[in-house]
């Protein structure tokens, strides 16, 4: 058991999680990164992927997150992402439709902007699908 610390996971549409946790594993730009209490203060760029954390009750929780960033302070971590979703909030059928739609958008892209947007949406959808199909 590790010492616990305060975490806030916030998206523009809601406060996803607030509370004490022991460890969080996020998908950083370089790959997976585990954060414990008293980790060196840093700013981490996050790409879309699965976020896992061990809450103070000793239970692992998982969520699918879009790109974002995390700020690590010695006793507090803040994660800010576009969207973060619990597994039971994700509907596999609609995620698959989303993937098809975005793949089509990438093929027929109208501008570089649309391409970047579709890529970001696609990465988010893949993270959701990965999380959902693992259950």
């Amino acid at each position: 058991m590790y010492p616990s610390y305060y975490i806030e996971i916030i998206t523009p549409e809601r406060v996803f999680y607030r509370g004490m946790i022991e460890e969080i594993i996020v998908e950083s730009l370089d790959g997976q990164l585990g954060i414990l209490k008293n980790t060196m203060p840093m700013v981490v760029g996050l790409k879309a992927g699965i976020m896992r954390f061990l809450d103070a009750g000793g239970e692992w929780k998982e969520a699918a997150a879009s790109a974002g960033f995390a700020v690590v302070k010695p006793d507090e971590v803040t994660v800010l992402c576009d969207t973060v979703e619990w597994p039971d909030e994700i509907e596999l059928a609609s995620v698959k439709r989303e993937i098809e739609k975005e793949e089509e958008n990438i093929r027929t892209r109208k501008s570089y902007r649309d391409y970047l947007l579709s890529k970001a949406n696609l990465a988010k959808a893949f993270a959701q699908m990965k999380l959902k199909s693992r259950k």
Binding site: D30, V43, R113
Partner: protein, 286 residues
């Protein structure tokens, strides 16, 4: 002597108008409640993202193309108004704030959100460079992302040196005022509000994996989040303003009708009195 039929018609027409304003008031209440839920959900993010950015940019001399001042005066404005009028001075306030800045600068670009904003600048003879459509009714994160990518692309092409967003800031359910915030280059003064109560982190932050790639991600995320917040706040403010305006209009209509009814009754009584007098005169005469 006022004409009874004229007064009756006026009462009728005012009552009809009151029915419309009452209906609009009820619709705005429903829309405002919906917008307020989104607003309340967004508020923690808006505070947090700004104080977090401030913690990152503080003390450390961060170098990045979206943070460094280019020194020029070419300025772009994103102006957020609504698609519809009938909301008191909601549109006027925010548009005039934007106009007062645009007027005194030499080289400006104007991006509008909302039909009222578009019409305003067209009537002032100002060219609109981009119109973002379909974003004022129900703003979504992907709307905000689209706008972010657009402005970053233009900024990268070196079309302007600064970009501001002009919107209606809502600090509580009833408190709202037009405001202007600098988006790029990201500056400390647009990040800190004294009354936010968010404390900054003092100390060095390490960038993982490196400063440039982290800031690339963070600033895109930050802009999307902040733009979404400004859109959400503007929508909530619009419906709030429309609701109070329509409430006032309905109340005014009620007062006018009450006044006219007194006039109507007086005129009616006068008519009856004259009629009785005439009958009396006729009888005594005959």
């Amino acid at each position: 002597m006022p004409n009874i039929i004229d007064i009756k018609n006026r009462i009728k027409s005012i009552e009809d108008t009151a029915k419309i304003t009452k209906a609009m008031q009820l619709i705005s209440v429903a829309k405002m409640n919906k917008a307020l839920v989104k607003y309340e959900n967004n508020r923690p993010y808006f505070k947090k993202v700004r104080s977090t950015m401030a913690s990152i940019l503080k003390e450390r001399s961060v170098k990045h193309r979206y943070v460094d001042d280019r020194g020029g005066e070419r300025t772009a404005f994103i102006v957020i108004a609504s698609d519809k009028g009938m909301a008191g001075d909601f549109n006027n306030q925010v548009l005039n704030l934007a106009y007062s800045h645009i007027e005194r600068l030499k080289e400006t670009y104007v991006f509008t959100i909302g039909i009222m904003a578009r019409d305003f600048f067209v009537s002032k003879g100002i060219n609109i460079d981009i119109e973002f459509l379909h974003t004022t009714q129900n703003p979504t994160m992907s709307d905000a992302a689209r706008i972010t990518y657009d402005i970053l692309e233009l900024y990268d092409k070196d079309l302007f040196d600064k970009i501001y967003v002009v919107y209606t800031e809502k600090t509580s359910v009833v408190k709202q005022f037009p405001a202007m915030m600098r988006l790029l280059p990201v500056s400390m003064d647009s990040l800190i509000d004294e009354d936010d109560g968010e404390k900054l982190f003092h100390g060095n932050l390490h960038f993982e994996p490196d400063e440039k790639s982290v800031l690339d991600v963070i600033i895109t995320e930050y802009l999307t989040g902040v733009l979404y917040s400004t859109l959400i706040q503007s929508v909530a403010a619009e419906h709030f303003k429309r609701m109070t305006t329509m409430q006032q209009a309905t109340k005014n209509a009620g007062e006018m009708v009450a006044e006219l009814k007194v006039k109507y009754n007086r005129a009616r009584q006068e008519n009856i009195t004259t009629a009785i007098l005439e009958i009396g005169n006729n009888q005594s005469g005959g």
